[in-house]
């Protein structure tokens, strides 16, 4: 089976995740308004569609990878599973102890997928570098990795501002702003790493 082009994969993921964020901010809030149960359910679950598509893309990419890449994917997914399992267990115990509200527990659940992706990418990048590869290369646009992360983070921050000022939704704002901050921090870390490498070739 032919290997999947990185460009194709990254473009499709970028489009799907952009759609995910737009649906979260523009469509999902409609599920909290009065209306028929089936319609509210549809509005509530529609952001799941692009996520399922991305998971399908990842599965395809892994199946079409070579043996070395599959080992790196395995390491990444293993670490991500362990980290996310522990974090959700912690959140569950805290919620059961009523140390935070059910609504915040629901928000924490929404972080399972992003946390899984972040941990998987970081672990896979680290493992690839240990084996002599590049953990994070230029990607589709030719921008350095840190620039892409900062761009995405700033875009999400603008979306969070929309969620706050237009939608008046604190939960959405905190979710999107949290993602934006996390992504900008990762971008900052990548910039520092690039700078340190340029000083010590």
């Amino acid at each position: 089976m032919a290997r999947m082009s990185k460009r194709t994969y990254e473009l499709q993921v970028a489009v799907a995740m952009s759609l995910y964020m737009v649906l979260i901010v523009l469509v999902w809030p409609l599920s909290r308004q009065d209306g028929a149960v089936w319609l509210k359910t549809l509005y509530a679950l529609i952001p799941v569609v692009p996520v399922v598509y991305v998971i399908g893309l990842m599965a395809q990419r892994i199946v079409r990878s070579d043996e070395f890449e599959q080992r790196m994917h395995l390491i990444g997914l293993g670490v991500a599973s362990a980290v996310v399992s522990i974090m959700t267990l912690i959140a569950a115990f805290l919620a059961l102890a009523k140390l935070f509200t059910l609504e915040w527990a629901a928000i924490a659940l929404m972080w399972v997928f992003p946390l899984m992706m972040i941990t998987y990418s970081a672990a896979r990048g680290y493992a690839t570098r240990r084996y002599g590869g590049d953990g994070c290369d230029e990607g589709v646009t030719g921008w350095p990795a840190y620039a892409r992360f900062v761009f995405i983070g700033v875009t999400l921050a603008l979306l969070a501002a929309y969620a706050y000022y237009v939608r008046r939704s604190e939960e959405l704002t905190s979710l999107v702003l949290g993602m934006a901050c996390g992504i900008v921090v990762v971008g900052g870390f990548l910039w520092i790493r690039k700078w340190m490498r340029s000083r010590n070739p």
Binding site: D66, E67, F68, E69, R71, Y131, G133
Partner: protein
């Protein structure tokens, strides 16, 4: 518990350079990623048997002439 075995040494880089191929070109010929070639050449990763046979066939050598413990 036994210690994890060390990856084997190999002559893939020499054979590639003799033919004037880049890592990317060799990766394309073997239908693997450039990172895989780099990992093999730096002895950080041992290829599977099918891949080792494909490498040997590409370079027209026996496996034992390319990979050694």
């Amino acid at each position: 518990m036994d210690a994890q075995p060390q990856p084997m040494n190999n002559h893939v880089r020499e054979l590639r350079e003799q033919r004037g191929w880049s890592q990317g070109e060799l990766a394309e010929r073997l239908d693997v990623s450039r990172q895989t070639i780099n990992a093999i050449e730096t002895s950080k990763y041992d290829p599977s048997l099918p891949l080792a046979f494909r490498i040997a066939k590409l370079f027209r050598q026996h496996i034992e002439e390319i990979f050694e413990p």
